[in-house]
């Protein structure tokens, strides 16, 4: 059974139809890429899955349960985490704190336990810190050592993207939504991100839904690709079949481009 099932989902902002009766599903353990020109509705799709928007019609089911109308933090607790296209780190908190914050849903210690430093809370905090360091070590030494206690705003752009991923991982998701992980990265960094996404699946057993414009990344990581244009699914299948699909070429390059 598919881990995430999106069926007949439509969403419009005023008169603008952003998603039009969209059907797609993500199987457990799969890496699925969503591509499409700017304004195709890719990020809107992510916002819809994470509960920021409610669809006008249709259903989104995660692990067999409908998640329409749930608060975003509940959806996260069920096992869906995401990164943001335009980076929404907690800039004035430290690198490690950024990762610790999002473990909120997976831990229990309440305000009183935290303030009084009860053994229960201390144990939990120790485990949280250990896990945070583990997650940050995913990215080599870049987010290690003295960087733990540096504010997130002091990080370079590429390191901020890495921290976004670490922060999403800290919620222990089953499904990870990655919004343009390679945007603004140089070729070396892009290459590394591609590798990293592969590792996330093999080492953490994640299912990954990824939006990406860099076709090298898409080709490198995807099991399957879905192409969107104006909120409609125009193609679906392996990278090579989607990349050569006339409808996709037309969406990117304009009418007639496919036949010439």
């Amino acid at each position: 059974m598919a881990l995430l099932e999106i069926s007949e989902v439509s969403l419009s902002f005023g008169g603008l139809q952003v998603l039009n009766s969209l059907d797609m599903s993500v199987a457990e353990g799969e890496i699925l890429s969503v591509i499409g020109p700017n304004g195709a509705g890719k990020t809107t799709l992510f916002n819809l899955i994470t509960g920021v928007y409610k669809p006008d019609s249709g259903d989104v089911r995660f692990d067999g349960h409908s998640i329409i109308g749930l608060d975003p933090h509940r959806i996260n607790n069920m096992g869906i985490a995401r990164t943001f296209q335009n980076l929404r780190l907690f800039l004035n908190m430290t690198v490690k704190e950024n990762v610790l914050v999002t473990m909120y849903g997976r831990n229990r210690a309440g305000i009183a336990a935290g303030a009084l430093g009860l053994p229960r809370a201390r144990r939990e905090e120790r485990a949280m810190h250990q896990r945070a360091e583990e997650l940050l070590s995913f990215f080599g030494t870049r987010l290690q050592g003295y960087r733990f206690d540096q504010p997130a705003y002091s990080l370079s752009y590429a390191n901020r993207r890495r921290l976004e991923i670490a922060r999403a991982l800290a919620t222990s998701p089953r499904l990870l939504l990655v919004d343009e992980p390679a945007a603004g990265m140089n070729p070396t960094e892009t290459h590394e991100i591609t590798e990293l996404i592969g590792r996330l699946r093999t080492e953490l057993g994640l299912t990954i839904l990824i939006i990406e414009h860099d076709m090298h990344v898409v080709e490198g990581v995807s099991d399957r690709v879905v192409a969107l244009d104006y909120g409609v699914k125009i193609a679906e299948g392996s990278f090579s079949s989607v990349a050569t699909d006339p409808a996709v070429i037309e969406a990117y390059l304009g009418k007639g481009a496919a036949t010439k």
Partner: protein, 489 residues
């Protein structure tokens, strides 16, 4: 496959995939000055120890305090510290602009007053009434926090400010409450709840573990201990699960919500926490004053609280103490003209010594000051004014520099207006002209001070407090002990 540019994989014990030389060599790049090393040593001492040391010093102060007047000021500092701490949780951590905060303080004070006074002849013991009041204020905080589920930023500020005003209104008019259950019924006999403008008086002093607290020194000790305990608890909470989540809400509530933080619920919690601290402070306040009035909790008081939290550095719990110190002590120091004079000239000299660089600029400033002085004296002498200095000590010294005239009121007023105009003009001038103009403006300022302001204690006090707050915020916008924040990058 890996990139050629990347260093070789580390030994198998290290599970990292890439090494970052820049990070590895961080320690070698660090240049440490003497100030840095002191700062590092202070910041590497555990926060708990720092709080305990400050708290212990504050407690010992009670022994050496020369008079009840001084102890009372110290008490105010401790109370404001406590209040600033609560405010820091709501505003500094959670980013909720709660302008009803003073009302929570007032609610705590009134609630204690009603439970432990002659008003209704309820004389609840302190150790019962205080927890009840704190819990009640926290619940009120939850209720007032409800709009925060829908509102944030400016809108939340408006709603909470409105609540604060309603509280003052109720306190001032609650002496003739009439309830008619049925619209046509004759209203019930007026019921006096808050005492209206006369407030509630005859409030019981606190009595803790058999000791009846009846001196200001006693209350000072109680407040210092309370503030220290509250700050310690919040410091612990700051890095615990809930504290981290609260702080993330100020940074990016949407990202926090999507990544597992129940933002709407935690906003209520933040309000309740802040309110509970304010309520606790309110009970102490009521017991010290032995009376409460609605006007105690109006907007000016709210502004004072925000000033102490912001001056110390929003988000830094212990720094509330520094802000509270400034807000509570400065007005008292400026009460007498002689200390005021000392502060003004001290600040002037300190500014010149620290900020007027290079020395050539200082020279230009002094030259311009002297020339202006000579000119003014020459003109005044031309009118046949008596220029002999009066007073002795510092005032005699400044009197020799700046003439104190017979008709000082008009002259001082003119000088004061000239000072304001000069100060504004100063901001328009380019860098190289500022020392010259600064000398002129400073002399005019001294004229205004000696002839008019120094004698007008109450007004000058407000002016100077305002000016020093502006100066502090201009030189350290993040607050004295705040950390610089980046909003959007």
């Amino acid at each position: 496959m890996t990139d050629d540019t990347r260093p070789p994989e580390p030994a198998s014990t290290d599970r990292s995939i890439g090494k970052d030389q820049w990070v590895e060599a961080a320690a070698d790049r660090r240049v440490e000055t003497r100030v840095d090393s002191v700062r590092r040593r202070i910041s590497s001492t555990p926060v708990q120890w720092r709080i305990l040391v400050v708290g212990a010093v504050a407690l010992l102060f009670a022994l050496v305090s020369p008079s009840d007047y001084i102890t009372r000021i110290a008490f105010t500092v401790a109370l404001y510290t406590l209040l600033a701490t609560g405010l820091n949780v709501v505003v500094g951590w959670s980013g909720l602009l709660d302008l009803g905060y003073a009302a929570f303080f007032g609610f705590g004070a009134y609630a204690y007053a009603l439970l432990s006074s002659d008003k209704f002849h309820l004389h609840w013991p302190t150790l019962v009434s205080v927890p009840v009041v704190v819990a009640g204020t926290a619940i009120l905080g939850l209720v007032l926090g409800l709009p925060s589920r829908r509102l944030s930023g400016d809108y939340l500020a408006i709603v909470t400010l409105f609540f604060g005003q309603i509280f003052v209104s109720i306190a001032n008019n609650g002496d003739r409450l009439q309830i008619s259950l049925n619209g046509n019924d004759v209203p019930s006999k007026p019921f006096n709840l808050t005492g209206g403008p006369n407030g509630v008086t005859g409030i019981d002093p606190m009595s803790l573990f058999g000791y009846r607290v009846h001196t200001i020194t006693g209350y000072y000790l109680v407040t210092v201990v309370t503030a220290a305990v509250v700050i310690l608890l919040f410091y612990r909470l700051r890095n615990a699960r809930s504290g981290l989540a609260l702080r993330s809400m100020r940074e990016d509530p949407l990202a926090a919500e999507i990544l597992s933080v129940p933002v709407r619920r935690l906003r209520l919690v933040a309000f309740a926490l802040g309110a509970a601290v304010a309520g606790l402070a309110g009970t102490i306040f009521a017991a010290v004053q032995q009376s409460v009035f609605g006007s105690n909790f109006d907007v000016p008081f709210l502004v004072l609280l925000y000033a102490s939290a912001i001056l110390g550095g929003l988000g830094n719990l212990g720094a509330g103490f520094v802000g509270a110190f400034i807000v509570a002590v400065l007005p008292e120091m400026l009460r007498t003209p002689s200390t005021g004079r000392l502060l003004v000239y001290g600040a002037l000299v300190a500014f010149l010594a620290l900020r007027m660089r290079p020395l050539g600029r200082l020279g230009q400033f002094v030259a311009s000051l002297i020339v202006t002085g000579a000119l003014v004296r020459a003109i005044l002498a031309g009118f046949g004014t008596d220029l002999r200095p009066r007073g002795s000590g510092l005032s005699g010294f400044t009197g020799a520099l700046v003439p104190h005239l017979e008709r000082s009121v008009t002259f001082g007023n003119v000088a004061f207006l000239a000072l304001i105009a000069g100060g504004l003009a100063l901001t328009l001038l380019s860098h190289e002209w500022r020392p010259f103009a600064g000398g002129v403006v400073t002399y005019v300022g001294m004229l205004a001070w000696e002839n008019r302001l120094a004698d007008q204690g109450s007004i000058t006090r407000q002016l100077l407090i305002g000016a020093s707050l502006v100066a502090i915020m201009a030189s350290r916008p993040q607050g004295i002990f705040g950390t610089k924040r980046v909003e959007v990058l």
